[in-house]
């Protein structure tokens, strides 16, 4: 990567919940066209970081910029308007609604003319057509776009969530443990899907516990510990055990070394 400008960047993010410090000066960069994995133990601050980047919560300190411009997301809606879509691990879809409705949830299109403007009639056919096109592009197989999402398998449901995100994201997609609830075969399908999203030119932030998947997919790996980024490695420069050692603190990272120096200097 020839050092392009990061598309999404964060500096010194801090988030405290009472006495608990969830983020303690975390930095972050995402570059165009990459899959960036975020790994870290439970409580390392992965989710909090992602929520700050997707507008689900507001950091107490620090700054975030998108495409070089400072941003302040007050809600997930703000982040979506800025072109950032997020796929959550479990609460992604409304099971009672069909696939097309889920893809368009919160952004429904209405019929043209007075039917839409006065009677607020939905353009169901148009939305189905668009959803079907989206699914074909991403190579997701579903029997019927009119099927209720509740009747789909877990992998297909997550496929709907990913398709939804890919359909609307203009800048980047965030995926929080998208395979956590899935079986082996379905996981494979979702991983393929993530690659296809990147092939469309959208960078992806992937949060995962699954090291083999992270090493298979990611261009770079952002390692969190104790509310900070302690290292960024790549699958080429580090092995899985090395990355895990940094994540758990068994191998001192550069940050640890720096901190030790600071302390001994005091």
């Amino acid at each position: 990567m020839s050092a392009p400008e990061p598309i999404l960047e964060a500096r010194g993010l801090v988030k405290k919940y009472g006495q608990v410090v969830a983020l303690n000066g975390a930095d972050f960069e995402l570059y165009p066209g990459e899959i960036l994995a975020i790994i870290g133990d439970n409580g390392a601050g992965k989710s909090t970081l992602i929520k700050a980047l997707s507008g689900a919560l507001q950091p107490d300190e620090g700054e975030i910029s998108l495409g070089g411009e400072r941003i302040h997301f007050r809600s997930p809606r703000d982040a979506q308007r800025a072109g950032i879509e997020t796929v959550y691990q479990d609460l992604a879809v409304a099971p009672a609604l069909d696939i097309a409705s889920n893809v368009f949830l919160g952004r429904e299109t209405r019929r043209r003319g007075p039917l839409g403007s006065l009677l607020r009639l939905l353009d169901k056919r148009g939305m189905r057509r668009e959803a079907r096109r989206q699914f074909e592009e991403l190579g997701i197989g579903v029997q019927s776009i009119g099927e209720a999402v509740g009747n789909l398998s877990g992998g297909q449901r997550q496929g709907v969530a990913v398709a939804r995100a890919a359909a609307w994201a203009r800048r980047l997609v965030i995926m929080d443990e998208p395979t956590a609830a899935l079986g082996v075969k379905e996981t494979g399908q979702v991983l393929d899907l993530i690659r296809r999203v990147r092939e469309r030119g959208l960078p992806v932030i992937l949060i995962s516990h699954d090291m083999p998947h992270v090493f298979e997919l990611a261009d770079r790996i952002h390692i969190m510990r104790l509310g900070r980024r302690v290292a960024v490695v790549t699958p080429k420069t580090h092995t899985m055990p090395e990355a895990v050692a940094i994540m758990t603190g068994a191998t001192p990272s550069e940050l640890d070394n720096a901190l030790t120096k600071e302390r001994s200097a005091e």
């Binding site: 997930p76 809606r77 409304a94 099971p95 609604l97 949830l105 919160g106 952004r107 009639l121």
Partner: protein, 325 residues
């Protein structure tokens, strides 16, 4: 992958949400038809519809609320309050019928706004809020009416009780209004973005918020529209009883509206259900009450049967919910 085309069609018909309630309605009607030959007559069906129209309209509001995983225990007493305001203003205060009616409806809408405001603003559980307003509306009904019954009502207030004739059978305009309201509710829930947001909010409020839906606005609109349906039900109630009665609407209506919704296949967990199901559910309740009366079962046993019915329906809902995860 999966069953073949025909099997799928069959599966879809069997699992269509209104099929179960519809079969239950047919079975109930068949049962009473066998028990008494007074049941299966056009006039009796017209009577059932008239008896159903109040609970039927209340159940529209109740359906909206339950679809968002809420519950409204105040429906009956809020309607009673609206009805007393409408009739007292017209009879005792000399207010013309139209403003009296509008004011009564407005008070019911006000209760809806209050419910919605407390659910979204203070984040209180709907159960507790509406248990509170049930008592508030009950007390206000008796304070405002002074426990008097209002008679000699203007024509407009009695309008929905008037009848028209179709091949020898009388139907009230109120029944027509009820069907129109169901059609409107169906349209809103199935053909507009608002309807989808109601389902999504009820299914998972946090997930809906994260997809960018303004869930507070959805909930506020649902409770407000529910209030409006109680106000309209109040007007229908006057048409049915021909008086303003402070003791109306305070016993069976609350539970019957919930029973209608649940029998109609709407899940108390929110996010699943249909408005047509509720109409069928209301008809089941109406047929049960009518049929039990016809075969001479005393009113007190009807309470017993309705109680058992609602618990059975909720059990089925719970079972289905667990199975679908």
């Amino acid at each position: 992958m999966g069953p073949t085309g025909t099997l799928q069609v069959v599966r879809r018909v069997i699992t269509a949400p209104t099929v179960g309630p519809f079969i239950a309605l047919v079975v109930t009607m068949a049962f009473f038809s066998l028990k008494t030959d007074r049941f299966f007559h056009a006039e009796n069906f017209s009577l059932v519809l008239q008896q159903v129209m109040i609970v039927g309209v209340l159940a529209i509001g109740q359906t909206l609320v339950i679809l968002t995983a809420g519950i409204d225990l105040s429906v009956g007493t809020v309607m009673a309050l609206g009805q007393v305001i409408m009739t007292k203003l017209a009879v005792a205060n000399g207010v013309p019928a139209l403003p009296a009616l509008l004011l009564g409806i407005l008070v019911c809408v006000g209760f809806g706004v209050l419910h919605g405001g407390l659910v979204t603003g203070v984040r209180l559980p709907p159960f507790i809020i509406t248990l509170g307003t049930l008592n508030i509306a009950f007390a206000l009904t008796h304070i405002i009416s002074n426990d008097l019954t209002f008679t000699g009502l203007p024509k407009l207030e009695l309008f929905w009780g008037r009848t028209f004739n179709i091949s020898g059978t009388d139907f009230t305009y109120g029944v027509v209004l009820m069907l129109v309201l169901y059609a409107l509710a169906w349209y809103g829930l199935n053909q507009t973005a608002w309807g989808r947001h109601v389902y999504a909010t009820g299914d998972n409020r946090e997930a809906a918020r994260l997809t960018g839906i303004n869930t507070d606005r959805v909930l506020l609109s649902v409770y407000t529209l529910a209030g409006l349906s109680y106000g309209i039900a109040a007007w229908l109630l006057i048409g049915r009883t021909q008086v303003g009665d402070p003791n109306a609407g305070q016993t069976t209506e609350n539970l019957d509206s919930i029973t209608a919704v649940v029998l109609g296949g709407t899940s108390l967990f929110g996010g699943r259900g249909t408005i047509i199901g509720t109409l069928i559910g209301a008809l089941i309740v109406g047929v049960f009450r009518n049929g039990l009366t016809l075969i001479g079962v005393s009113v007190i046993y009807q309470y017993l049967v309705t109680g058992v019915l609602v618990i059975l329906a909720v059990s089925v809902d719970q079972f289905l919910h667990r199975r679908s995860g």
